[in-house]
């Protein structure tokens, strides 16, 4: 557009150099540590990492919770996004504001609220024993359920926002037209809404899935050392055991999983879109 490329290059240079040397280089050196044993190239650290049943457990738990959080967020997300798009314009802005609000609040504060609710002497247990549903307080904190609840609250807004904008871009008369022609609500959703909002779903799904895989605060506070996820395991390996080899292996797994998810889902969205 503008001719003088030299100026353009000069303007990009500071950010590029800063990120390359202050960020990419240290991370690459860390990642390289995972494929080196005693100075030689080797996959030994990976073999060792996956030979431990504990590590395999953590790996599958992270994957499983990520899928579960994404799936539940998607189902609830459609219900909420449809209800928001359906409401009056002034209410719409306020509802989106309420959905966005938690995103701006400290994750530590957000997660700690669940300790107050789910703990042994927490709100839920007081209420449950109060109505006489249980005699003993039930353990919810430091279980996968607690981590799941915390992750849903943390990432749900990231699913709703893209769905709302995708639904707003639907052509105005396709849904009424289908209804006039006698399609059931479920058929309308499956044949019209889902295909036409697929891109929003993919964007939201990627954010929620990758976010859940790489979350640290929520599993650390709500799962503790009982419900380790990959990130909390990484912290533990370094802080408790000084085990940098495992840490770099986990780092590679997390980065590869994140990038693979983003690329795969993006492919999926565009491939279907071209039909």
């Amino acid at each position: 557009m503008f001719e003088r490329r030299g100026i353009g290059l000069a303007l990009m240079l500071p950010a590029t150099v800063f990120i390359a040397f202050g960020f990419i280089l240290p991370v690459l050196i860390l990642l390289a540590g995972s494929v080196q044993v005693g100075g030689a190239w080797s996959l030994g650290h990976f073999v060792e990492f996956f030979s431990s049943p504990l590590n395999r457990d953590v790996f599958w738990r992270t994957f499983r919770l990520g899928l579960l959080v994404t799936g539940v967020s998607a189902v609830l997300g459609y219900a909420v996004a449809l209800a928001i798009v359906d409401s009056s314009p002034s209410a719409k802005g306020r509802l989106v504001g309420l959905i966005v609000l938690p995103l701006m609040i400290s994750p530590v504060a957000r997660t700690y609220a669940w300790v107050v609710i789910l703990g042994r002497t927490g709100f839920l247990n007081v209420a449950l024993t109060g109505i006489g549903l249980t005699d003993e307080p039930i353990r919810i904190l430091f279980t996968e359920t607690a981590v799941f609840i915390g992750l849903i609250q943390l990432f749900f807004p990231l699913m709703v926002l893209p769905l709302v904008s995708a639904l707003e871009n639907l052509p105005a008369d396709v849904v009424p037209a289908a209804r006039v022609l006698g399609a059931s609500w479920f058929t309308i959703f499956r044949k019209i809404i889902l295909p036409l909002t697929r891109e929003g779903l993919v964007v939201g799904g990627t954010l929620v899935f990758v976010g859940s895989l790489t979350a640290y605060v929520t599993p650390a506070i709500l799962g503790g050392s009982r419900v380790l996820m990959l990130e909390t395991l990484l912290y533990q390996r370094v802080a408790v055991a000084n085990d940098y080899a495992s840490a770099s292996v986990i780092a590679v797994i997390l980065i590869v999983m994140s990038i693979a998810t983003s690329v795969l889902l993006k492919r999926l969205a565009t491939a279907r879109g071209e039909r």
């Binding site: 504001g97 994750p107 709100f123 749900f156």
Partner: protein, 257 residues
């Protein structure tokens, strides 16, 4: 179907917002240990938050880090975004990938990498490493938001200014910058809040004496079960609420998120 949708919406909003109401009330408890419903109401734990020395120093570190890192990210990001949008430079895609790289790397790994391969070998102070990590984290946001603002601004405006005799730089400062001001303010608010709330990048780069507020809170709650973290969490939630409200009034922040 419509009624069901409304019901789900109400339940979800309760699920998203309810915990903040509960934590604010738990922080107002007069009791010695964390409990909800609170055992009597008092401001003693709110007052206590302001007395804890480590909270105070961590708060100020977080504030300065938030301002510094956001400013750094904008100083690096605005020129880069401008060049990416307006100049046909070879290797544009490579630069775009490099400046968005921090999004794909989990924060904990960034912190560990900086500690092991920058702080220790190069003898860099931890506070500087915190600044580098937070700035890197925010550069992609800055570039993306400023790029979006530039895409909404027609190129003709600058060209008209140049034809009327302004220099390239003059056109940038007097035409472009004022027109993308809202985007920059939005990027600043989002950047500050992101840095202020950031945990994973800072975790490995914190130690006794040098610790950001969320990290200090996490360490404190490991060994204490009093309501002061609830009080502090409530204060932070109210602070974010105020920031969002002001930002929404000023420039409709929800358009940028």
């Amino acid at each position: 179907m419509r009624g069901l949708g409304r019901l789900v919406l109400a339940a979800v909003l309760l699920f998203l917002i309810g915990p903040f109401i509960i934590i604010c009330l738990a922080g107002l408890s007069a009791g010695e240990t964390l409990a909800f419903p609170p055992q009597g109401l008092s401001l003693r734990w709110v007052a206590r938050v302001f007395e804890v020395q480590s909270f105070r120093s961590a708060f100020w570190l977080s504030i300065w880090l938030g301002f510094g890192a956001t400013l750094g990210a904008l100083l690096l990001g605005i020129p880069a975004a401008y060049a990416l949008e307006r100049y046909d430079v070879p290797g544009r895609q490579v630069v775009r990938n490099i400046v968005s790289a921090p999004i794909v790397v989990p924060g904990l790994i960034v912190g560990l990498a900086l500690l092991r391969h920058l702080v220790i070998p190069a003898g860099i102070p931890v506070t500087l490493a915190l600044f580098i990590g937070h700035t890197a984290l925010l550069v992609p946001y800055a570039v993306r938001i400023v790029s979006a603002s530039l895409q909404n601004l027609r190129v003709d405006m600058e060209e008209a200014a140049v034809l009327l005799g302004a220099s390239r730089a003059g056109a940038f400062f007097r035409v472009v910058l004022p027109n993308i001001r809202n985007g920059i303010v939005a990027a600043f608010i989002i950047g500050f809040v992101t840095s202020f709330n950031q945990v994973p990048v800072s975790l490995f780069l914190s130690g006794p004496g040098v610790s950001t507020l969320p990290i200090d809170m996490m360490f404190y709650m490991e060994f204490n079960y009093d309501p002061s973290i609830a009080a502090l969490s409530g204060l932070l939630a109210l602070m974010s609420f105020a920031i969002v409200l002001v930002a929404e009034r000023l420039l409709g922040l929800s358009r940028y998120v």
